[in-house]
């Protein structure tokens, strides 16, 4: 595993903390199924991945991870309420067309929702914008804007506002510092490179 892969997967352990043994887990934007494979090994979950890209589905097939190639809103609509114990959006929300509606659907289909995102308010991102007038390009997001997926970045503070406005219950929140490995809790909107939220709806 390369250092980049390690960094990418640092959040797996935190995500796994909130998953119970044998849970039914839906991973939206599952990529190559690495997280689901990890959760299957650690927690014996029944996991299903969703991704739009055939190449990613091919990797899921290789891993033995059930996967559905298609649109996130379309597949969510086919599930009854509370069909899953947990719905995971791991670095997915930034790329959604209608994040508000899809997160609401996630909370309907899953009893709990995990959202992991890169904190746009992290000081390095602020510095890059302020002094360089550029977005951050690093080992996790190595591609320039014209080669990457459409991205709608947001900050810890903005996500907190959203949960507040929508009356979403934040059960847990974990912040990772800039190395994405060590947990941090002070001034998260400024000091956290990555944030992971454990959510549920009120009723």
């Amino acid at each position: 595993m390369s250092p980049t892969d390690k960094k990418r997967q640092a959040d797996f352990q935190i995500i796994a903390r909130w998953v119970n043994e044998g849970d039914r887990v839906l991973d939206l934007g599952c990529g190559r199924g690495v997280l689901l494979e990890y959760l299957k090994q650690k927690k014996s979950i029944y996991g299903v991945g969703v991704d739009i890209d055939l190449d990613k589905i091919l990797s899921c097939v290789k891993r033995g991870v059930p996967a559905y190639q298609g649109d996130i809103p379309a597949i969510l609509a086919t599930f009854p309420d509370d069909a899953f114990d947990r719905v995971i959006f791991s670095r997915t929300v930034e790329q959604l067309d209608d994040a508000d509606a899809i997160l609401a659907e996630g909370l309907r289909v899953g009893r709990h929702v995990t959202v992991g995102f890169i904190n746009q308010g992290f000081w390095v991102n602020r510095m890059n914008a302020l002094f360089n007038g550029r977005r951050t390009v690093n080992e996790v997001y190595p591609k320039p804007w014209y080669e990457s997926m459409p991205n709608n970045p947001f900050s810890v503070a903005e996500f907190e506002d959203f949960c507040d406005a929508r009356k979403i219950v934040v059960e847990n929140r974990v912040y990772l510092s800039g190395d994405w490995r060590s947990e941090c809790s002070r001034l998260p909107n400024l000091l956290a490179g990555y944030a992971i939220y454990d959510l549920s709806s009120i009723d």
Binding site: R8, R24, G31, R32, Y46, V48, L54, D55, I57, L58, S59, C60, V61, K62, R63, G64, P66, A67, Y68, Q69, G70, I75, T78, F79, P80, A83, V140, Y141, P142, K143, S148
Partner: protein, 379 residues
Amino acid sequence: MNDSEQAPLISEEGEVGFVEYQDFVSKEPFKFVSGGSLPELTLRYETYGHLSAAKDNAILICHALSGDHHCAGVHGIEERKQGWWNFMVGPGKPIDTTRYFVICSNVLGGCQGSTGPGSTNPETGKPYNLDFPKLTVQDMIKAQSLLVDSLDIERLHAVIGGSMGGMQTLQWAIDFPERVGRYLALASGARHTAQAIAFNDTGRQAIISDPAWQQGHYDPEHGPDQGLAVARMMAHITYLSDVGMQSKFGRKRRNVDESKEHFEVEFEVESYLRYQGASFVTRFDANSYLYLTKALDRFDLHSPESLDATLSAVTAPGLVVGFTSDWLYPPQGNREIVEALLRLGKDATYAELAMDFGHDSFLVRSPQLYELIHRFLTR
């Protein structure tokens, strides 16, 4: 993100080479879902590769409406055309005959050696014709299960099929969950759309309205060839796509003889379809066509209760593949199967391939389909 994974290399490919068919004969009466029965039953089949000592490496391939048991290799040196899925089946290919024992049988009700309407009824000495019992996909796979029994195979490593073969595959997973290790249904669906039934019935009417059909009691040498050819021409259009036809034929013309009739072949696409129709009648029986298309129209996994209720019997992991340009069995019809399976908490995967060849895409070699089948069988 640059997180591509290296594609596994598939070892060098070989061919299954010369193959011979075999006949499985059951002298026991065979009962149909409809209540009808046959006094005895023959299924013609081919096998490739070797059955392991543990008898755990068998793969059953189910063919489509106009396919047959000959899916790989050649029967003789003079045979130009290889089996219908030759690119998929063979040493080093996704359905690897060095690892798997592959079985493909001509379907019950067919006309390539298995018992069908054209077969002789041993009790009367005459062809069954329309006395052949009402046929369903369930009957087809029940007959196949007898063949699998005869080969002393308890559990199949996998069942695979496209189109009508995909429906048989799904039915296998539902009716014989304990005998199916995994299943792979390509370009299929849980039931025909109104459009698919409409096309099938137009084809049937072309046959039935051909005077040579004679209420099904035609002399095999002088069958309703016109009607069957028209049915095939029309069905063939539904297997292709607008884009595919446009790029293959466009408005290309043949060398037209101006002195000839108004309605001689003028466009390439006309020539192609007429050839398809004319060659089909040399290998297909009109009554078989009627029975098989009707079996497909009746196939409905939403019945008697719901798709979810029907699929609740499935235990094996499944892969369902839809093709973007398939308008006969469109992606949505493939997708809904996996949606139901996932609702039920089953291990199921849906993949969608962007290919221009319409419904027939599963019969066209593509690296992605190759990868998908290879990975699913070996996972």
